[in-house]
Symmetry: C2
Subunit: 176 residues, 2 copies
């Protein structure tokens, strides 16, 4: 109860919505709960079946904005009493990806919870090689545009965009 209040206060303190929020200190409890609520809402709207396994995997990926490999997920599932053979993880991940709740980061062969579920999109990822966190930018935010020639010569159906570098937070820390 009290915790909630603090969360709420902290929320007000935060700067304006920020594309790199995931990298910075933020009220992650709130962030987590809000994402989870969204997640559940989408299951209802789309009439999908929210099973314990699907919920668990999504929660694991929501944990701290760090991507998890399939086998890391399996280890965590094992600890929670789920079966933990590879197809279990890959099937749930495939399902969550298909419905836009999770993305795969090709650079890392790992998976993250989607930050903008619902918008079917070609997200751009920023991957900090230092703290290993990932932030997702949606198309409009990224300002990403290809020039006319590219668009006219090639019909883009899917775009994989992964930016590897150093996040604002780790830059601060780097200055020692």
């Amino acid at each position: 109860m009290f915790k909630r209040k603090i969360s709420s206060i902290m929320k007000k303190k935060q700067t304006s919505p920020n594309i790199s929020k995931n990298f910075m200190d933020h009220d992650h409890e709130l962030c987590f709960e809000s994402a989870l609520k969204d997640f559940k809402q989408h299951f209802i709207e789309k009439e999908l079946k929210l099973t314990p396994l699907r919920l668990k995997v999504f929660q694991l990926l929501l944990k701290d904005h760090r991507p998890l490999g399939a086998y890391q997920i399996l280890d965590l599932l094992r600890k929670d009493g789920f079966s933990s053979t590879p197809p279990i993880a890959y099937r749930v991940l495939d399902f969550l990806i298909e419905h836009g709740f999770v993305h795969k980061i090709k650079k890392l062969n790992a998976f993250v919870a989607c930050s903008h579920p619902g918008n079917s999109h070609s997200p751009t990822f920023m991957i900090c090689r230092k703290c290993e966190k990932v932030a997702e930018i949606n198309e409009k935010e990224s300002g990403l545009k290809f020039n006319k020639e590219t668009s006219s010569e090639f019909k883009i159906e899917e775009a994989i965009i992964e930016l590897i570098g150093i996040c604002k937070n780790c830059t601060k820390i780097e200055v020692i």
Copy 2:
């Protein structure tokens, strides 16, 4: 000799330099030879050792603008009498990638010869899901730009950009 002449004539027939040349009919003999010449020149300039294995792997990747997996390369090496255990391919590929002669397409876990060797760059790839050919656009050509916010909040060191879709040539063919 005569072949050369035809090539030369065909070259003149081609339209202006085109970002999606790789997808279209073009004088591939000339394309191949020119890329190979460049490749060799870079080895001289950078004082690298051009071994038969390195040359062979690059030639294989130059063949037809289609990416090859490491194990496909190994099969082809075997046919040419080279040793063909995985480290052979991966080591040569690592070397060629490190020096900018080859890129890895993450989407396909496969490798292509670089179209703009020498420019150290973050290339953008267009991958046709129909003919499976790949074309590389360099930074300037792509017109790709991130907005200020992205750039100020995250220090980009490497960008993986892979566009999956249908090339101009396959679009034409698609209309049946």
